[in-house]
Symmetry: C2
Subunit: 153 residues, 2 copies
DNA sequence: CCAGTTAGTTGCTTGACGCAACCCAGTGTG
DNA sequence: CACACTGGGTTGCGTCAAGCAACTAACTGG
């Protein structure tokens, strides 16, 4: 995948990509947003190599995008949560998701639907509720399986 | 960077990343959006290896994100332009740029400012004009050098 | 006591990327 | 005319990251 630096680039897009542009990073963030919190859960959901997952989680923690909390001791086991900084990646994920839905739709339609928790309205590519018009944030929205997920049923 | 497939992922985010998640791809799109149109221009601006740039441009053309137009013949020379599909990546770029500005600001502030062409208002992380409130698209906005670019002067 | 779960780490192999050199067609310079 | 330069690549080589499988370690359940 990606090396994580773009030397000579003075640009916030490049800086963002240095952090979350590595292969798997954004998908890990997406899955943690959708409630996957544990190592094996993420590994199975993503199909990523375990060493790579381990490296990415460490990097995301270093970058203050994820944090690790023990949910038991002896042996210590951890869960991964998004920080505010991590949650703020939501608009970028929504933009990529909308773009993918628009230009690479599966035959059955989009695999995931994002809806506003409060009013159930669909969420636009800008992360705005098409029902009530509010500008949403990560915690205001929920992902539901869409029609494109039928074959996995 | 990234291999360009995420096997087993049924998700529009993953599908988008298969296309534009490769190292350099989004930065190429960004630069073409900012008016870099020719091979050498892109190569110098990005500092990417020429063979990699060549491969990325081909891939982006295959994916109908860029198109190549001859601007002279004998010898044939080409310029690269964004298609509608490519221009529609703008919200994703803006989201990443805003996130980068918020969390990895340079000491001098953001290196690039995005403004609404029509009214000069700043553009929010959702690609909305903070001056007039309109939901913007790629062609409605312009990038200006920001305070963080001072040292390059 | 053995199998299973969770959360990794280690080692090996493959393949993508970075770098430098080369190629080719035309253009400009002395 | 010779030579260098420009634009747009391609080729070859070395390195580093990713994929895969095996191993470790601490505990749990039967």
């Amino acid at each position: 995948m990606l090396r994580n630096d773009y030397p000579g680039q003075v640009c916030s897009i490049a800086r963002s990509l240095e952090i979350v542009g590595e292969r798997w990073s954004l998908l890990i963030v997406r899955d943690v947003m959708n409630g996957h919190r544990r190592f094996d859960q993420l590994q199975k959901a993503l199909g990523v190599a375990r060493n790579v997952l381990s490296a990415r989680l460490q990097r995301l923690i270093e970058e203050d995008i994820l944090e690790r909390r023990a949910y038991q001791s002896n042996p210590e086991r951890y869960e991964y949560f998004l920080t505010e900084k991590g949650l703020d990646l939501w608009p970028a994920l929504i933009a990529l998701l909308s773009w993918g839905d628009r230009y690479s739709p599966g035959p059955e339609g989009p695999p995931m639907l994002i809806v506003h928790k409060e009013c159930g309205g669909a969420v636009s590519d800008r992360g705005i509720c098409e029902g009530c018009g509010k500008v949403l944030h990560a915690r205001d929205a929920r992902a539901l399986p869409g029609p494109g997920l039928a074959k996995a049923a």
